[in-house]
């Protein structure tokens, strides 16, 4: 092996990073080459210089500070807000954990109530659909209309509510296609009869405000004629 080849291996030789075979080859060359021997000595001195000066002193105060800083950061990690904390961060004072638990239970109860109400809404809608179109036209809300709660339902599923309205409108049109003037009664309390062109509309309000009896009958014009 010539000098340039050995010189490439000397950095690794100086740190004992060559395999035994390469080490033997380098050593044989160094025995006979002063220049490469000097090179090898230079690497040894350089390594010694590096090792003896690359260990700065750190005092106990530094280590104490380090551990305190780590502890502080761990404490911050551990108290990072969870879901419950996030909810109560909305309030200025953080309630006790027991209070948090109670509030979560109330929240769950409220949610189940809303879901229950939404299923009741569907039923009440059915009642409205089958009810008399005249009642739907009344300016005052009928009891069934009052049951039909709505803004909540509308918020939850506005499309569904629109569909229901359209359904009701269609039924109203069917009703008005009947030969009756359904300008309708202004008052629900009194039993009323309304006359139209050729049909007579009779409404009876029962004691139950939810039940109203309505019927249509042809006008007895023949009677007038007979008089």
């Amino acid at each position: 092996m010539n000098c340039p080849d050995v010189e490439k291996l000397i950095p690794l030789y100086s740190g004992d990073d060559l395999d035994p075979k390469q080490t033997r080859i380098v050593e044989q060359h160094l025995d006979s080459c002063e220049n490469c021997r000097n090179q090898a000595r230079g690497f040894e001195q350089s390594a010694l210089w590096l090792k003896s000066n690359a260990s700065p002193e750190f005092d106990d105060a530094t280590f104490l500070q380090l551990r305190q800083a780590v502890r502080l950061e761990i404490a911050q990690i551990q108290t990072k807000p969870g879901f419950g904390d996030w909810i109560f961060s909305l309030w200025p004072h953080r309630p006790a954990p027991a209070l948090s638990a109670a509030a979560i239970i109330i929240l769950i109860a409220a949610l189940s109530l809303i879901i229950f109400r939404s299923s009741t809404d569907k039923n009440s809608n059915l009642i409205t659909v089958v009810s008399d179109p005249a009642i739907n036209r009344q300016e005052k809300p009928s009891p069934t209309d009052a049951l039909q709660a709505p803004p909540k339902a509308a918020l939850r599923n506005p499309k569904k509510t629109i569909a229901r309205k359209e359904e009701r409108l269609a039924i109203n049109q069917i009703g008005s296609s009947a030969p009756t003037d359904i300008t309708g009664p202004k008052s629900e309390e009194k039993t009323e009869t309304t006359s139209s062109n050729n049909m007579l509309r009779i409404e009876l309000q029962t004691a139950d405000p939810n039940i109203r009896i309505i019927w249509f009958t042809p006008k007895k014009e023949t009677q007038n004629d007979s008089k």
């Binding site: 740190g15 990073d17 001195q45 090792k51 260990s55 280590f63 780590v70 761990i74």
Partner: protein
């Protein structure tokens, strides 16, 4: 009956290593269960090695302290993933190297100077003979020069020579920690040693010519 101290004295080096490993394992298990005092003990056991390695990677004490803090926070956050039977020290070395790399990049301070730039820089101090290192001022000056010498290396060369020559780890372990092949790491070590040698020789020459 055999006295406990006699037993201790009779312990071989291998026994001591085994005991040390048992102690470390027990600390890791306790820390994994949320025992912060055990975690504190883990820090105490590794703090000097971590901060020194960080200084060798970053070249100044303030950054080294910040890096050490980050290292132990990362260790804490990943404690649940640690298998106590595996190489915990190697894992901490790897975290330290990664933290130092991230810190250097974030601060954009790892602006490497070429050997020539370093040597030509007017602030290059005169060399001090090695037998005078008793004086702490001289010692600090030498450290400053070492930091400058290390700053001429690439990030990978610096990590490789630090782990191999300053931490004294076997080449294969250095490769494992750095996630490189042993051949690549040997090449980085060789290149780093050559650069440090040239730096030192030029510095000595410059010091001699200034006298």
């Amino acid at each position: 009956m055999v006295d406990a101290s006699v037993m201790t004295n009779n312990l071989t080096a291998a026994d001591e290593i085994a005991d040390e490993k048992l102690l470390t394992n027990s600390l890791i298990l306790r820390a994994q269960q949320g025992d912060l005092q055990a975690f504190d003990q883990i820090i105490i056991k590794h703090q000097r090695r971590v901060i020194t390695l960080a200084w060798r990677m970053l070249g100044n004490k303030d950054d080294a302290r910040d890096a050490a803090q980050d290292v132990f926070i990362r260790v804490y956050k990943n404690l649940s993933k640690v298998d106590p039977d595996r190489d915990f020290s190697g894992w901490i070395y790897r975290i330290t190297i990664n933290v130092c790399r991230d810190l250097a990049r974030a601060r954009n301070r790892h602006s490497r100077l070429s050997l020539e730039e370093e040597i030509e820089a007017g602030n290059m101090t005169e060399p001090v003979s090695l037998d005078n290192t008793e004086s702490s001022a001289i010692y600090n000056q030498e450290q400053m020069i070492i930091a400058r010498a290390l700053a001429t290396l690439t990030e990978k060369e610096r990590a490789a020579i630090t782990l191999r020559d300053l931490e004294g780890l076997p080449g294969d372990e250095v490769a494992r920690i750095l996630g490189s092949s042993p051949t690549t790491v040997r090449s980085q070590i060789s290149s780093a040693r050559s650069k440090i040698k040239i730096f030192r020789e030029r510095w000595l020459k410059k010091g001699a010519s200034n006298k």
